[in-house]
């Protein structure tokens, strides 16, 4: 089977657009997930009554249902209840639902990993709770969380391909459309794989580099 390079070139503008959509969905979802996770982690760390149970329930629910099913539920089932959400919005909502849960656990674990002696030392020199949080807990918890935080960011970006199922025109949707129209299965899958490598690998490497820099700043090499 021949490899149709001219055809690949003709599809590149469409793929460029699709990469834009993928990044848009992925980056928005990362930011919103992080916001959800910050609120949730605070609730868990401060053991807020009642709310703590709600957050725990949410984390378990979100982590134990597949993204595709959450997506189908929001996109296809909610309209029967009178709630019609666009494909893009459904993608952001479900990815935030999923990402928020994972990141909540990451942040909680980060805070809990700060040695208790640090808190006690802080209190003993007369720091207020707010100062303790800002100057002692957050800088250390943030650094401790970074590796898994970054890993989860990359995970969320990769998960964006799932949202092709509700007609969000990202990279997988575009690939499938072209295969369906022109039957260039090999060419299009090769392009998709290449885009994924070009998109996610440098990001992975960049995040690892940043992580190394931050760790170095904290602990030395």
């Amino acid at each position: 089977m021949s490899f149709d390079v001219a055809f690949i070139l003709s599809t590149l503008p469409a793929f460029l657009k699709a990469v834009g959509v993928t990044l848009q969905v992925g980056l928005i979802a990362i930011v919103t997930s992080l916001l959800v996770a910050l609120v949730n982690a605070a609730i868990l760390v401060y053991r807020t009554p009642y709310l703590q149970r709600v957050v725990q329930l949410y984390v378990e629910l979100a982590r134990n249902t597949p993204l595709l099913i959450q997506l189908f539920f929001v996109y296809f089932a909610l309209p029967s209840l009178g709630l019609k959400i666009s494909g893009f919005a459904a993608a952001i909502i479900t990815m935030t639902f999923l990402g928020g849960a994972y990141l909540t656990e990451v942040l909680r674990a980060g805070v809990e990993a700060v040695p208790r002696a640090q808190l006690e030392s802080g209190r003993s020199i007369g720091l207020s709770e707010a100062q303790l949080l800002w100057h002692v807990i957050l800088p250390q918890a943030g650094l401790l969380s970074l590796p898994s935080l970054f890993a989860n960011f990359v995970f969320l970006l990769k998960e964006t391909t799932v949202v092709s199922a509700v007609a969000v025109p990202e990279i997988l949707y575009t690939t499938k459309s072209y295969i369906a129209l022109y039957y260039k299965t090999y060419e299009m899958l090769a392009v998709l794989t290449l885009i994924c490598v070009l998109l996610f690998l440098p990001l992975s490497l960049l995040l690892r580099y940043l992580e190394g820099r931050l760790q170095h700043g904290q602990f030395g090499s």
Binding site: F76, P79, K84, G87, A167, K176, S177, I179, A180, Y183
Partner: protein, 292 residues
């Protein structure tokens, strides 16, 4: 010592892998690459594995769907059983693989199935990619809209959103002839219909037989009169270059035609889905004798 042990282990693993490689050609579940070795007959390969592998739809009644007992049935699916009966002597010696419109041709190209019997319309582009046999059905693409919709003609859709199922004739025709129309594409026929029901688009363009059947069972919708493109044949397909299997299927279709077998399947599955004045010969192609 340790290294010696490891290399011994590696060596035995490697030879195992080699053996496994040798065995691959006889692996019963995978169709051997068609046309790769013209010396061996493809039909013999199927007979050796004692099973015909056929790609079918599972969500497109009456052509391919799942009945109450979980069996794959339908107009197309049952033709697959007849093929298995004729080739292997038992209509149960067939393995059905569920395909979606967009995955039909990739499944043939990658040797996942021997044959696609999934309501595939013959188009010039698809002829380049696969080997079509003679047809078993005829079809045209039309559009389904909600009863109360303001859409009266096809052109009314130019500034609206039209739903299609990825890789269907409707998808291809609209992309080529109306590239400026807004299309919303889903993988499955059932998802597209759900999307129309949810009001995510103004119309659903699809093969008219499927639309007629669906709108008969789900009141509140109407099918636009105008057709998208010409009436076209629907035919089984085999991998590009597999002339032997194509000719065999053609002979089988001719044989089934003499028994009026497709009419029997039409009565069993299709007749009740369409309006009373539909003539069977406007839908089925008995004996493969029509080329569109």
């Amino acid at each position: 010592m340790k290294t010696a042990k490891t290399s011994k282990l590696l060596l035995s693993l490697f030879s195992l892998a080699l053996l496994a490689g040798c065995n691959k050609a006889e692996e019963p579940n995978k169709p051997a690459s068609a046309g790769a070795s013209p010396a061996t007959s493809y039909l013999e390969t199927i007979k050796a594995r004692d099973k015909l592998i056929v790609g079918v739809f599972t969500d497109k009644p009456p052509f391919g769907f799942v009945d109450e007992s979980g069996r794959y049935v339908g107009f197309d699916t049952d033709i697959g059983r007849q093929f298995a009966k004729s080739l292997l002597g038992d209509e149960n010696k067939v393995e059905f693989v569920a395909v979606e419109p967009a995955s039909r041709i990739p499944f043939l190209q990658s040797d996942k199935v021997d044959l696609i019997l999934a309501n595939m319309t013959v188009t010039p582009e698809r002829k380049e990619a696969v080997e079509f046999t003679n047809p078993n059905l005829r079809v045209a693409v039309q559009a389904l809209v909600p009863e109360g919709s303001s859409v009266k003609h096809l052109d009314d859709l130019s500034d609206k959103t039209t739903i299609v199922t990825t890789g269907t004739t409707a998808d291809i025709w609209l992309t080529k002839n109306h590239p400026d129309w807004k299309l919303l594409k889903f993988e499955k026929n059932s998802e597209s219909l759900q999307a129309l029901a949810n009001g995510r688009g103004d119309a659903y363009a699809q093969d008219n037989l499927i639309l007629f059947s669906w709108s008969k069972q789900n009141p509140g919708y109407r099918v636009l009169e105008e057709k998208l493109g010409e009436e076209a044949p629907i035919a089984p397909a085999v991998k590009k270059g597999n002339i032997e299997l194509r000719d065999w299927v053609n002979a089988e279709l001719a044989r089934l035609g003499e028994q009026k077998y497709l009419l029997k399947l039409y009565d069993q599955y299709v007749r009740k889905e369409l309006s009373e004045d539909t003539k069977p010969e406007s839908v089925i192609v008995e004996g493969g004798k029509w080329q569109g």
